[in-house]
């Protein structure tokens, strides 16, 4: 095989590339967001009830172990979706995000010192209010760390969907491969990596701004 480098392809196809990028983001990020929203209550349940923890944490481990292509392929079998349905990629990505975050969220919530939760109850917080304003904020650093891994992995895993006919930048990879188009191939790879790293950096930044107390040096007394 011989690879071609048709540079003019790039300016001629900016619209298609932009569309594929948009689709890729939608395919990758929506599931991460859904996964985050689902994993918080699940993580809370796992932090609270031993039974829930005993079920959720090992289950998360098993789900995280199943290869992405397998999970993508099996979604239609389980959910009855069409073979070419964005859900086939999105459901596995959400599952990975949940599998990754449930354990972190539950560990982070369990790590909140008991005197802090006791103090919050004693000053008169109702349980939901306490969870949202005391326990959850304290878990933010751990959640953000998990989220960064989830987003970056999702950006790269979404490309695998192209093997079973689902769009996004992965499609430029398969297309570039079939047409020996090195420019298309490299453009897709670079876009995936660069966008992933930008989102990662943004999450890092937002996480820092949201948790100023984690940056205080210990033991500065005067």
């Amino acid at each position: 095989m011989n690879i071609d480098w048709p540079w003019p392809w790039l300016p001629a196809n900016t619209d298609d590339i932009a569309e594929a990028t948009g689709e890729h983001l939608y395919l990758a990020l929506l599931p991460v967001l859904v996964g985050l929203l689902v994993s918080i209550p699940l993580g809370w349940a796992a932090s609270r009830w031993r039974v829930a923890r005993g079920i959720l944490v090992p289950l998360a481990g098993v789900l995280y172990t199943i290869p992405s292509l397998a999970l993508i392929t099996l979604v239609p079998l389980v959910l009855g979706t069409q073979i070419i349905d964005p859900l086939n990629v999105q459901v596995p990505l959400a599952v990975y995000t949940i599998a990754l975050l449930v354990r972190s969220v539950s560990d982070a919530l369990r790590a909140v010192p008991s005197e802090v939760t006791a103090a919050a109850t004693a000053v008169g917080y109702r349980p939901l209010h306490r969870f949202l304003t005391v326990e959850l904020p304290l878990a933010v650093p751990v959640i953000v760390a998990g989220l960064r891994v989830a987003v970056v992995s999702a950006m790269s895993l979404t490309a695998v969907g192209a093997l079973v006919g689902i769009g996004g930048l992965g499609q430029l990879i398969t297309e570039g491969f079939l047409r020996n188009n090195g420019v298309e191939l490299v453009a897709a790879i670079v876009l995936i990596v660069v966008i992933a790293l930008i989102i990662d950096a943004l999450l890092l930044l937002v996480g820092r701004i949201a948790t100023p107390w984690t940056r205080t040096a210990k033991g500065v007394n005067s």
Binding site: A118, A122, V123, G124, L138, W213, T216, A217, G219, N221
Partner: protein, 376 residues
């Protein structure tokens, strides 16, 4: 007034933490729950703000059964301070203190300015307000915890071993401050500790619990020391309780005798001394230290204030009424710690009014013992 009426708490695993407790906590003053570890002090305390619900009996707060109150609302009206302060690590010191005012619907501005006042009240410099709890020392954190509990100006304050995790010097500081705060604010404070010294120091009334969650004795501290209800209480209050009990005996019965004084900077001769010693005083008659005959002979006639023998502790008497304001323990300590074996008695202005010897204090003690005020 907080009333426990036949309150029992049995945990699901069968442990009876509190057994049929009847106890009334009067308004105002500090009521201390004391007892060995695991005797149910914390459980009793946490039942007051419904962090724990009793399995039997009932608790009345100002005559009203607390079960009729919504727990979060009840808690906003009761301050709670715990051992490691339980500060919220993600909020600044100021915002920690502002928590309850915000919860009760005050504006952020009002809550913060209230928080600022409280930090001052508990003796924290304003520059600490912007810090996070991790940037404070243990003692400072504990003060923030007290400020937070006081923020909504609750009539009742519950404190669970608040000072047991700080070192003794800081603890002493915090205890003094609590007494000062209490005299200013006049809250109803329920204070849990397992340290009998702390209980006696802080308590207006002390409830001694025995293991199994039963009340062994509920009395004021002096009565507790003088007349322990049973062997458990007497062993719990300790072997030196006789000496400690002196702290509660009025030294009024101790006759204050004359003591020789010389004025610093002025001429003095050996025959002004009494038994070889005299107290050097300043122009207002306040004690500066002791001069011995031997020392005076090296001073070429005039009393040198820089070369005195430092004296022992002082004890205060109310000279107008002719009785002592201090305790027998103060009087005995003054006599024992003095180089001349005479304890210096001073009046409210700090001026020397006389002296006591250990013998006279012990004679007074013997009288008190005969009167049944001290355990034999």
């Amino acid at each position: 007034m907080i009333e426990f009426q036949a309150v029992t708490k049995q945990y699901p695993d069968g442990t009876v933490a509190v057994d049929n407790l009847d106890l009334a906590v009067e308004d105002g003053g500090i009521t201390v729950f004391v007892g060995p570890s695991g005797c149910g002090k914390t459980t009793s305390l946490r039942m007051i703000n419904r962090m724990i619900d009793p399995t039997g009996g009932r608790i009345l707060l100002d005559g009203k059964d607390i079960r009729e109150s919504d727990p979060p609302l009840l808690r906003r009206g009761i301050g709670y301070v715990i051992q490691h302060a339980g500060l919220f690590p993600h909020r600044t010191v100021l915002d920690n203190v502002a928590t309850v005012p915000l919860l009760t619907g005050q504006s952020r501005r009002a809550a913060r300015s209230r928080a600022g006042e409280l930090l001052e009240l508990v003796g924290l410099p304003a520059k600490l307000a912007k810090r996070y709890p991790a940037q404070l020392s243990g003692g400072q954190q504990q003060r923030v915890g007290v400020a937070r509990a006081l923020a909504a100006d609750p009539p009742v304050l519950l404190m669970d071993e608040p000072f047991s995790a700080v070192d003794p010097i800081v603890r002493d500081d915090l205890q003094q401050q609590l007494l000062r705060l209490q005299s200013e604010l006049d809250k109803t404070i329920v204070f849990v500790t397992h340290d009998i010294d702390e209980a006696i120091k802080l308590g207006d009334r002390v409830a001694v619990f025995r293991v199994g969650g039963r009340l062994a004795q509920y009395d004021d501290p002096s009565a507790l020391l003088a007349r322990p209800a049973d062997d458990f209480v007497s062993s719990f209050v300790g072997r030196d309780r006789g000496y400690r009990a002196l702290g509660f005996l009025d030294a009024g019965g101790v006759p204050v005798g004359p003591v020789a004084t010389v004025r610093a900077g002025e001429q003095a001769t050996a025959d002004q001394l009494d038994d070889g010693w005299a107290v050097a005083v300043d122009a207002e008659n306040r004690p500066l230290g002791w001069v011995s005959a031997e020392l005076l002979s090296t001073m070429d006639g005039s009393v040198n204030a820089d070369r005195l023998v430092s004296g022992g502790s002082l004890f205060e008497v109310d000279s107008s009424a002719g009785t002592t304001a201090g305790s027998l323990r103060n009087a005995l300590d003054a006599a024992l710690s003095s180089p001349s074996a005479v304890g210096i008695a001073i009046d409210g202005d700090g001026a020397v009014v006389g002296g006591v010897t250990a013998d006279t204090v012990l004679a007074a003690l013997a009288d008190a013992r005969r009167a049944g005020e001290v355990p034999a």
